[in-house]
C-alpha cells in the first residue's frame, strides 16, 4: 500500500528465512495473498501466481463477478465465500495424478473407441439442449463437444476440478459462472455419475430439469456404451489406450498440446525396474520437473510477458536470447528429459539406469509415437 501510494509496484517479497509472499489485486476489489512456507525450492513464485489466478477464478465460478466487484455487504460476502472453500482447497491440496492447476491445460485420457464415445456425447448433449458436454473418467477428459473445447482452457480446468470435488454423488445440478465466458450470468452444470469414476456433464440453461435428464437421457444414451466405459476406467494411471506402445524404460510422461491446451499425463505402474520411484512419487516428480523446466527453460509466452511487466528476478531465463528446445536433468531417483516443438511439449521420466546419451532419441521416439495418435 505504501508502494502504490508512491507509484511503485511491489509484486512479491521473500522473508529472511526463505518464505515467500505473493499478492495480486483483482478488479480493484479483492486482494488475494499467498504465503508459502520456508522451503522455497518446493513452492516457487510461478506456482503461487498460478494459485492466485486459480483461486480468483474459483470465486468467480461460484459467486459471479458482480458479487465480488460490487461488494455491498462485506459480512454477506464473507459468508457466501464459504461456498468456495471446497473448490479452493482442491487447488491448495493439488497433487497426484492431475496437473491442470500448474499447466493450465486440460488433463485428458485417450480412450479406445473414441468415435463411439464422441457420438454418444454429442447426441446426449443435444438431447439435453446443450452444446457444451464433456465426458470424464477418473476426473480426466475423455471426450468433449466442440463448444466445450472452445471455452478458455483455464475454465475447462476449473470445471474439471469442480467436478472432481463433487466426489461420489450420483447427480449434481450446480450453478456456475464462467470466469471468462459468462462471469455475470450463471449456467447450470449438470453432472451424472454413469459408473463410479466415469461422469458425464453438460452446461445448460433453465431446462431440462435434473430429474428429467437423469430419467430420460442418461440410460438411453450411455447404457449401450457401458463396456467401453469400463475399459476406460481400467486405464487408470496409464491414461493411454493399449494400442499405444511406449519404450519399456518410460516411467511416466506428460505431453502438452500447446495449441489446444490439452495434456496427457501417464504413469506406468506396470514398469517397475529396481530402484524406480513409486507411482505416487512419479506423479510428484513429473509435476516438479514440469515446474522447474517451465520456470527455467521453456518459459511460456504469458509468463514471459508477465515477467517483463512485473520484472521478476528470473534473470537467468530473461538472459537467454533464444528459446531452448530440449533439456535434461539427472537426479538420484531418475533421469528426466524435456522437449518442445512449436506444437508440443513432452516431459519424460526414466530410470537412473538409462544412459544419459540415450535420453534424447528415446524422447524423440516417444513424441512421435504419441503424436501419431492424433492427440
Amino acid at each position: 500500500m505504501f508502494g502504490s501510494g508512491q507509484d511503485v509496484l511491489l509484486s512479491s517479497c521473500e522473508t529472511e528465512r526463505g518464505g515467500r509472499v505473493v499478492w495480486r489485486v483483482f478488479h480493484d476489489s479483492v486482494m488475494l495473498i499467498a504465503v508459502s512456507g520456508q522451503d522455497t525450492e518446493a513452492v516457487c513464485e510461478f506456482q503461487l501466481r498460478r494459485l492466485l489466478d486459480n483461486i480468483w477464478n474459483c470465486m468467480v465460478l461460484i459467486l459471479g463477478i458482480d458479487e465480488l466487484v460490487n461488494v455491498r455487504n462485506v459480512e454477506r460476502l464473507k459468508r457466501d465465500l464459504r461456498l468456495c472453500y471446497q473448490l479452493i482447497d482442491g487447488f491448495l491440496e493439488a497433487s497426484g495424478e492431475w496437473m491442470g492447476d500448474v499447466t493450465h491445460c486440460v488433463d485428458c485420457l485417450l480412450p479406445p473407441q473414441l468415435v463411439l464415445l464422441q457420438e454418444a456425447l454429442d447426441a446426449f448433449s443435444h438431447a439435453a439442449e446443450s452444446e457444451f458436454g464433456c465426458l470424464l473418467v477418473h476426473g480426466k477428459v475423455v471426450a468433449a463437444t466442440e463448444k466445450w473445447w472452445r471455452l478458455a482452457p483455464q475454465e475447462v480446468v476449473l470445471l474439471t476440478v469442480l467436478l472432481r470435488s463433487l466426489g461420489g454423488t450420483a447427480c449434481c445440478d450446480q450453478p456456475v459462472f464462467l470466469p471468462q465466458g459468462s462471469p455475470t450470468v450463471p449456467h447450470r452444470l449438470l453432472r451424472f455419475q454413469l459408473l463410479p469414476g466415469a461422469d458425464v456433464c453438460v452446461l445448460c440453461g433453465p431446462s431440462p430439469s435434473l430429474q428429467r435428464a437423469e430419467i430420460e437421457l442418461v440410460g438411453r444414451f450411455w447404457r449401450p456404451l457401458m463396456e467401453i466405459l469400463w475399459t476406460c476406467l481400467a486405464l487408470k494411471d496409464h491414461c493411454l489406450p493399449g494400442s499405444v506402445t511406449l519404450h519399456k524404460d518410460v516411467l511416466g510422461l506428460l505431453l502438452i498440446n500447446r495449441e489446444s491446451s490439452r495434456a496427457i499425463s501417464s504413469v506406468r505402474s506396470a514398469v517397475n525396474p529396481p530402484g524406480a520411484p513409486s507411482v505416487a512419487r512419479r506423479w510428484e516428480l513429473l509435476r516438479l520437473f514440469f515446474i522447474f523446466t517451465v520456470k527455467r527453460y521453456f518459459v511460456q509466452d504469458e509468463v514471459a510477458q508477465r515477467q517483463k511487466r512485473e520484472s521478476l528476478q528470473e534473470e537467468f531465463a530473461l538472459g537467454f536470447s533464444h528459446q531452448p528446445i530440449q533439456c535434461y536433468m539427472v537426479t538420484e531417483e531418475c533421469k528426466c528429459f524435456g522437449l518442445q516443438t512449436p506444437h508440443y511439449q513432452l516431459y519424460l521420466l526414466m530410470p537412473f539406469s538409462v544412459p544419459t546419451f540415450a535420453l534424447r532419441p528415446l524422447a524423440a521416439r516417444t513424441l512421435s509415437t504419441l503424436t501419431a495418435t492424433g492427440f
Binding site: 447450470r188 435434473l210 442418461v218
Partner: protein, 325 residues
C-alpha cells in the same frame, strides 16, 4: 392367482393401474415384467386384466384418491406392519445384502448400475425421490453419505447446488413375502444456494415422494425451526411421506434438545422422529431403522395412492413371471 377379479370395482382398478403405469413412465418402477408388477400391486389378475392393454389406454390418467384420506391413514401405520424390520439380520437376507458390498465396503453404484442378482432370483426395483431439508450445517450431506455408506466428509463444506445420492435397500414385504429393492435417491441442496438461486428448490421438490426434515441435537434453534420448515417444505395438498431426523445424536454431552421435547413434537405432529450420529462403522444396523421405516411409509403411501390395499394372494403365483414374489 389373485382373488379379486377385475369386475369388483372397475373404476378403482383402472385408477390403480394408471397410477402404477404413470410411475413406470416416470422411471420410478423398474421391473422385470411390467404386467406382473402392475397386477401384483393392484391385486389384479393378469390374465383377466391384460395389463399391456391397460398400459396403452391408461397413460396419463390421473389418480383420483383424496390425499387427506391418505394422510390420515399414513399416520395410523404401525411400524413393522408392512415390512420385516429385522430382515437384514436373517440368513435369507445375506444373499441380497452381499450384492451391496464389495471387499467388505459398501459398493458404489453409478447411474447405469444396479445390484445384480443371480438369474434364478428376479427382484423388482422401486425408485423413490427423497428430499433432505434442513438448516445450513445441520448435517444433510453427512446423512446422505451415511445412508449410502460413503465416506463421511471430514470437513464441513457448504453444498453448492443440488447433489443426489443413490441408496439401494432390499426389503421383504410382510403380506406377499416378496423382496423388493428400494432405490432411494436422496436430494441434498445447500441452504445458501437455495437462497441464491430460485430454480433449485422447485427442482428438488419436483415429483418428490418423501421429505426428511433435519434438526441437530446440538442446535436448539434448528429444532424450533422444524414446524416452519415443515410448513414450507410441503403444500397442504401434498401427498408425501414426512420423516424427521435428529442429527449429531452422539454429541449427547452438548445436547440442546431434550427427549421430552422430541416426544411431544412426535405426538403433536404425528411425524416419526429418528436419531442418527456418531462414527460410521458401515454395519447395516446403523442405517436399517431409518431406511426400513422410509421404505415402509413409501410403500404404504403408494398403495393408498393406487387406491387400494392389495388383497392377500390366495396362492403363490405359479407362472414364471412371479418367480421373485
Amino acid at each position: 392367482m389373485f382373488s379379486e377379479p377385475l369386475g369388483g370395482d372397475v373404476e378403482q382398478t383402472r385408477a390403480a393401474a394408471s397410477y402404477w403405469i404413470r410411475r413406470r413412465k416416470q422411471g420410478r418402477v423398474l421391473c422385470q415384467n411390467e404386467a406382473t408388477l402392475i397386477s401384483v400391486k393392484c391385486g389384479w389378475n393378469r390374465e383377466q386384466g391384460g395389463a399391456g392393454e391397460w398400459a396403452r389406454c391408461m397413460l396419463g390418467a390421473a389418480c383420483s384418491w383424496p390425499p387427506t384420506c391418505c394422510e390420515l391413514m399414513a399416520r395410523s401405520l404401525r411400524p413393522g406392519s408392512l415390512v420385516h424390520v429385522d430382515w437384514h439380520r436373517s440368513a435369507e437376507a445375506k444373499e441380497f445384502f452381499s450384492r451391496l458390498q464389495h471387499k467388505k465396503k459398501r459398493r458404489k453404484f453409478g447411474l447405469l448400475e444396479a445390484p445384480v442378482m443371480p438369474p434364478s432370483i428376479s427382484v423388482d426395483t422401486v425408485n423413490y425421490k427423497v428430499f433432505i431439508s434442513g438448516k445450513s450445517a445441520v448435517g444433510k450431506t453427512t446423512l446422505a453419505a451415511r445412508l449410502a455408506g460413503l465416506d463421511v466428509p471430514r470437513m464441513h463444506y457448504e453444498t453448492t447446488g443440488i447433489e443426489t445420492t443413490v441408496v439401494f435397500w432390499p426389503v421383504k414385504l410382510r403380506d406377499s413375502g416378496r423382496v423388493l429393492f428400494f432405490r432411494f435417491q436422496f436430494w441434498d441442496c445447500g441452504e445458501n444456494s437455495l437462497r441464491r438461486f430460485d430454480h433449485l428448490l422447485p427442482s428438488c421438490k419436483e415429483q418428490m415422494d418423501a421429505i426428511l426434515f433435519l434438526f441437530s441435537f446440538i442446535d436448539h434453534a434448528s429444532f424450533v425451526d422444524l414446524s416452519s420448515q415443515i410448513a414450507r417444505g410441503t403444500g397442504a395438498s401434498d401427498n408425501i411421506v414426512k420423516v424427521v431426523v435428529g442429527t449429531k445424536f452422539d454429541l449427547f454431552m452438548h445436547t440442546d434438545v431434550t427427549e421430552e421435547e422430541v416426544r411431544s413434537f412426535q405426538a403433536a405432529s404425528g411425524i416419526p422422529v429418528f436419531r442418527v450420529g456418531g462414527d460410521v462403522c458401515g454395519g447395516w444396523g446403523e442405517v436399517a431403522p431409518l431406511l426400513n421405516a422410509l421404505a415402509e411409509l413409501l410403500w404404504h403411501q403408494d398403495r393408498l395412492a393406487a387406491g387400494k390395499m392389495p388383497p392377500q394372494p390366495s396362492s403363490r403365483g405359479e407362472t414364471g413371471d412371479l418367480a421373485g414374489c
